[in-house]
Amino acid sequence: MLDILLASLLSPVVLAFALGALAVAVKSDLEIPAPLYRALSIYLLLAIGLKGGTALSETPLGEVVWPVVGTVGLGMLTPITAYAVLRRLGKMDRTNAAALAAHYGSVSAVTFIAAVTVAAFAGVPSEGFMPALVALLEVPAIIVGLLIAYARGERAGSWQDAMKEVVTGQSIVLLLGGMAIGWIAGKEGMAPVEPFFVGGFQGALTLFLLEMGMAAARRLRDLRSVGVFLVAFGIVMPLLHGALGVWVGGLTGLSVGGAAVLGAMVASASYIAAPAAVRVGLPEANLAYYLTASLGITFPFNLTVGIPIYLALAQYLGG
């Protein structure tokens, strides 16, 4: 466990995240041009999709069915658990609780990638089709989260627009689209684009996390405004969801690595797809709450401490 924790903490990807945070702390004039950041995020999402689709094209359907069912189930359950915790323990108003629920039910693609890398490094690689699960986990949670809010009276936002935002959002289009391409083209057809999409992946991710570190650090400036409870929530909720994910992963027949990665996925909170949808569907929710919690607290927590924990748990349960 410790060696894995160390290895993940000392990987270039995590160190780049730290460097980005540091740059903000020392008020460096370092700035990642927005187009570069957007280019990297398009590249990463498409690459994940392609990888998953290629793997899927070589996986017997049977192997995938149960994990899929489990993932969709988790996507519908976790926003509810998050909502309950926020309302009961956090005494948070409905709108903001629902907004946060959508975020913590959904998934962070980068946390997923990091988990895949760590699991592989730990010698327990995850299933190749895991990216398919990312797409499946992302959508339902956001819908359920918004449903909770809309089920409770007048809303300032537009339900249709929010739904459209969810299902036609950039991350879904690139993930599913990439998967379709990879699945149709197959391993052989993908060979020529491998150097670009596979070879360059980890490096591009490092650059991406440099910016993530800066964004997270900027978020932390709002920390005061979000209060102690939300900070605790941003750390404890992932642990609970993570454990749940690992356990379900095992049940549905995922390997130890697969279960660990699923745990990390469930534990993670969305900071791209969910905010976009919530801005449209629940504009009255306080943006500082959900962005600071998901991007400023939960993401760094999972990236550094969380993932190794989920992995250890998966090894304990599955070993």
Binding site: I32, P33, A34, Y37, R38, A156, G157, D161, E211, M212, A215, R218, D222, Y271, I272, P275, A276, R279, V280, P283, E284, L287, A288, L291, L295
Partner: protein
């Protein structure tokens, strides 16, 4: 040079409402618009310019006086409460005035 008095309506908004704003202003009678990416900070704080997501957008449209008023009101009613949006109006003199009037009736 005979110029025609028109109104320049400028809207600065978070990217999430861009498309809805555009269709609204054209529905209300704008014959065109010019758009640029901006980073802003206001009472809601500057998040919407954060690079982790799309930058904010500045939409400028030259319209007749009453279309300007309708657009401003539309924005105020629908976006001021919950969104990071501001709108302001200025006088401009344009050449080719007919261009900016709905159904191109000469203004």
């Amino acid at each position: 040079m005979q110029t025609v008095p028109y109104r320049l309506v400028t809207i600065v908004a978070e990217s999430t409402v861009r498309d809805r704003l555009l269709s609204a202003i054209h529905r209300l009678g704008a014959t065109g618009h010019t758009m640029s990416e901006v980073r802003g900070e206001g009472t809601r704080g500057g998040m919407q310019g954060a690079t982790w997501e799309r930058p904010s957008v500045k939409i400028e449209t030259i319209v007749t006086v009453d279309v300007a008023e309708q657009i401003a009101n539309h924005v105020a009613e629908n976006y001021f409460r919950h969104h990071s949006v501001i709108v302001y109006l200025q006088d401009v003199e344009v050449l080719r005035g007919s261009k900016y009037a709905p159904q191109n009736e000469e203004a």
